[in-house]
């Protein structure tokens, strides 16, 4: 399953950091951050609850870039 989330982040490099962090989160099959559109597209692994996984994604993103936001 794929979902798109709106995000807020200041610099292109921070967006890359968020992408890395999201990719490493358990339950996420793949993630891409589009800095241009300020969107994060997350592909979840089968049988995962997107809501729970996204909480983790947000937590991990906050770790690498304090100044970011994902609008869940």
């Amino acid at each position: 399953m794929k979902k798109t989330y709106k995000i807020d982040v200041d610099c292109a490099n921070c967006a890359n950091k968020m992408e890395e962090a999201a990719k490493k989160t358990a339950g996420v099959a793949d993630a891409t951050v589009n800095f241009m559109a300020l969107k994060m597209i997350v592909e979840f692994e089968d049988g995962q609850d997107p809501k729970a996984v996204m909480q983790e994604v947000l937590k991990n993103c906050k770790k690498v870039e304090d100044d970011c936001e994902i609008f869940l």
Binding site: T4, D10, C11, A12, N13, A15, N16, E19, T32, V33, N34, F35, M36, A37, L38, K39, I41, K63, V64, D66, D67
Partner: protein, 622 residues
Amino acid sequence: MNKKQKKMLVRILAAVALLVLLTVLPVPEGPVQLLLYLLPYLVIGYDILLKAWKGICNRQVFDENFLMAVATVGAMILGDYKEGTAVMLFYQIGELFQSYAVGRSRRNISQLMDIRPDYANIEGENGLERVDPDEVEVGTVIVVQPGEKVPIDGVVMEGKAALNTSALTGESLPRDVKPGDDIISGCINMNGVLKIRTTREFGESTVSKILDLVENSSSKKSQSERFISRFAHYYTPAVCYSALALAVLPPLVMLLLGRAPQWGQWVYRALTFLVISCPCALVISIPLSFFAGIGGASHAGVLVKGSNYLETLAQTRYVVFDKTGTLTRGVFEVVGVHHNQVEEEKLLEYAALAESFSSHPISRSLKEAYGKPLDENRVTDVEEISGNGVTAKVDGVSVAVGNEKLMRRLDVEAIPCHHVGTIVHVAIGGSYAGHVLISDVAKPTSAQAIRELRKAGIRKTVMLTGDTERVARQVAQELGVDEVHSELLPADKVDRIEALLDRKGPKERLAFVGDGINDAPVLSRADIGIAMGALGSDAAIEAADVVLMDDDPMKIVTAIRIARKCMRIVYENIYFAIGIKLVCLALGALGVANMWVAIFADVGVMVLAVLNAIRALIVKKL
């Protein structure tokens, strides 16, 4: 400016005011001075210190915040209050500038891509009603007024208008539509009122497909970006340890030699070193360059699915074309009437009338060439002779339209044609009247595109086609293509591409350009697949790496030029930023450059690199 930026601006102004006050007013030396300077320092830098601390807690130690925090705290401890505060201040000014520039270019790009329609007009009982395009069912009649966007793909029922397609194709010439024409969503109706019967749902319409593509453009990283992430990964820790060594080793050596260690001086140099070394200019400007490059390209009607493709495109040295639909228009047209015994128009009229009941492409092109409405009542006794042609009576006169076999069958002596294409012989009243030459014609800009490609440094252009050798040769010669392979099945095309891939050099890339129909395997086998005329063809959008919105071959040249420009900017930034940093680092270590030079090496380089990156957005004059 958004809220965050405004807040930062206030903080910057406050810190500047406080710093000026402290410089002008007589401040007593000692702890009071430190306390006073801490005021502007904390106003401007509290978030950096906080971020650095959080980074340490989250084991993300070596980032810019950490560098800045260590450098400025160090300067404060050494008693260089003014410098410490100023470093923080300029760093924040640089950040604000960068965030502002990014915001501006993002807005620019989203304006360029602002094709999402907000509503559709449906005729209701009380005149026009505005509804969500998502709710419009296929087959509904919608009304598009002047100045409005066409929300859904469909067919024009009523009205004529000129359409502005520039948001979709980058083409500024308006496109005229009349009843019966297909119309694609995303165009802007410039003058007339149009009634359109929708042929697709909103989600399946062109505009949704394009928005989807732009927003989901897989963020495949280019080599340069990967290089920068790797670089930053090793660089920042390396710099931190070097700074530590610079602070500790020389004084220790001095001590061993029995001289004064001069701790203060060496720590100051180490801090300068840290400030200079901040890799912001690189980590910010490189992704930004690609971001701007892709944005600029979409403005020109070239959709690039990732920054790696921009890089590949810039290295393209071989361009392989599909013929039909790519270099040629893919529709058959009457290109000449020869040996005609009657007037040209008369001949076409008779031929078109005789063929008027046929749905064969040939009959379509005859009708088109004649160009006037046909009165089918004038035609009687139509007989189609499969593989030969048609005989019929037009105004009571017998007319035969077909190939040489038909002429032989009717005992009419046909004059053969030496041109390449499909020859349609016409006999009127039992005697030969001449023949019509029908062939696929090259697009008007194809030859120019090939020439421009060569000028742009493309080493070889190759054309692949399933067509006969004679036709292929003629087109290739007309357009100036270097190499041509004809009579190929789709699988043969892949073989040819593979043979070409083997032949090219290691740093050279091969692009395949097709119209997306039957081309998917070749598009994916080439280093980079370019699909053109994407409006209306979903297969092309899926299979290709680069999508040209309209079917003008000149766009290939534009795409390559945009990619080259973007890559040039990327390399400029890499060399410029690393070069300046290395020089300043050396000067800092030797003690020639002080903290003030360091600030400018950091913030100045970043501002210049960001400005340069934004240049990739400008694609007008390519």
